[in-house]
Point group: C2
Chain length 217, copies 2
DNA sequence: TTTAATTTTTAGCTTTGTCTAAAAATAAAT
DNA sequence: ATTTATTTTTAGACAAAGCTAAAAATTAAA
């Protein structure tokens, strides 16, 4: 399995995980920052290897085998992110790029030993679940902060947007995984939210709120 | 810099490190398990990028810039090997292949943080020196066990052959880095050596002795 | 010092993954 | 229900890195 094939599988996995139907050639091209024609070529190859169900013009979905492969790549990516943050003291906005490289290292023994070394974590530094060695995922119950109604409270358990810009914003506002968030009120004009983060009052835009996952208290 | 370019630089580095003259196309081809024609192609590319001094039919050597690149790859390889053995509990015969992949991960920050995390080791699990961030190498004084004369003693500080077969043999004989080795006598017929390893008497072939580095006591 | 053997390079082909441009299929709109 | 727009696929080209086979240069041998 080449790096490129792995990246396609991962992209298809992420595009289909939240909407269990097929995904379009264009959607993959956009996510991979490549051209639709390149995607078509790769889909043929992945289809030959039975990693995807592909019929011309009909979109594509992962086979069981493709899904497992994709999960193993995600597993590696997220475990390496934990390593970088927990052991090497990287901040959560720096780890994605490096993990993009590390996720392609091939050694099952390595990844399972790394998993043990890290204490078998179930979430990565952004709150995303880490598949186990068999591809099982324990999904935590969580919702977007923007979906709450005033006077509800929760603990910050994840971010939807993992861009460096967003994560650095959160650092500046001292919002981190584990922070307690009390939803005080919503401004009807711009949908901005008044919240308390670990007791400290703060106003955030709706865009911020719709990228923060919380677990209700 | 591609993986392939990095692998060529590394090969040329290893081939020239112990004999500071140029190296032949064929020697590189043999080390890389590829064809001479492929080597020629790559040498042109590396020469264009000023990593090697190359003139047709005249052999090749590394430029300063090429040597530094090569050392950084060796640095990464050996630091990852330390990580695998010290932190993930791999044995010294398992780490080479995985480090061959990890050495190509691109992030200076990563490798320097890893270096610190490991306590800035100066040797890898096989006793080979680890270049520092600037490419400096502290060479330990060592010689092959086969070069000693009877009644000399030393501490095992490295192996020349790092093949899995050899390392597993050493494990079986309980010879490890740090073992004290007393050279008792040499058999004139087959040049085999009678030695004591941490006090325990043992006979080893000359082939074994000429792949073990010791530091004289 | 020619001839023979070896080494190295060139020329041309293959595969992988990408691209552009054009054709075909599907979806949307009048 | 056509026409128009969009999406997707095909066809053909390109760069990277490898290969084989043949040519050129170097080295060794007679």
């Amino acid at each position: 399995m080449t790096f490129s094939e792995e990246n396609y599988l991962k992209a298809i996995y992420h595009l289909t995980s939240h909407s269990n139907s097929g995904v379009s050639t264009n959607a993959i091209a956009e996510m991979m920052e490549t051209k639709a024609s390149s995607v078509t070529d790769m889909l043929k190859k992945l289809s030959d290897k039975d990693f995807v169900n592909y019929k011309k013009y009909q979109g594509v979905s992962l086979t069981e085998s493709g899904k497992l492969e994709a999960k193993m790549i995600v597993r590696k990516h997220r475990l390496w992110e934990v390593f970088l943050v927990e052991k090497l003291d990287f901040s959560w906005d720096e780890v994605h790029e490096i993990a993009e490289q590390l996720e392609h290292i091939k050694s099952e023994k390595l990844i399972n030993k790394l998993d043990d070394f890290l204490g078998n974590p179930t979430e990565d530094p952004h709150g995303d679940p880490i598949p186990d060695a068999k591809g099982r995922i324990i999904a935590i119950e969580k919702q977007l902060l923007s979906e709450l109604v005033p006077h509800q409270s929760g603990v910050c358990v994840g971010v939807k947007d993992t861009s460096s810009a967003f994560l650095k914003y959160l650092d500046k506002q001292e919002i981190a995984l584990g922070s307690t968030i009390d939803f005080i009120s919503k401004e009807t004009f711009d949908l901005s939210l008044k919240i308390k983060v670990d007791g400290k009052e703060l106003t955030i835009s709706n865009k911020i709120a719709s990228n923060l996952f919380v677990k209700l208290l």
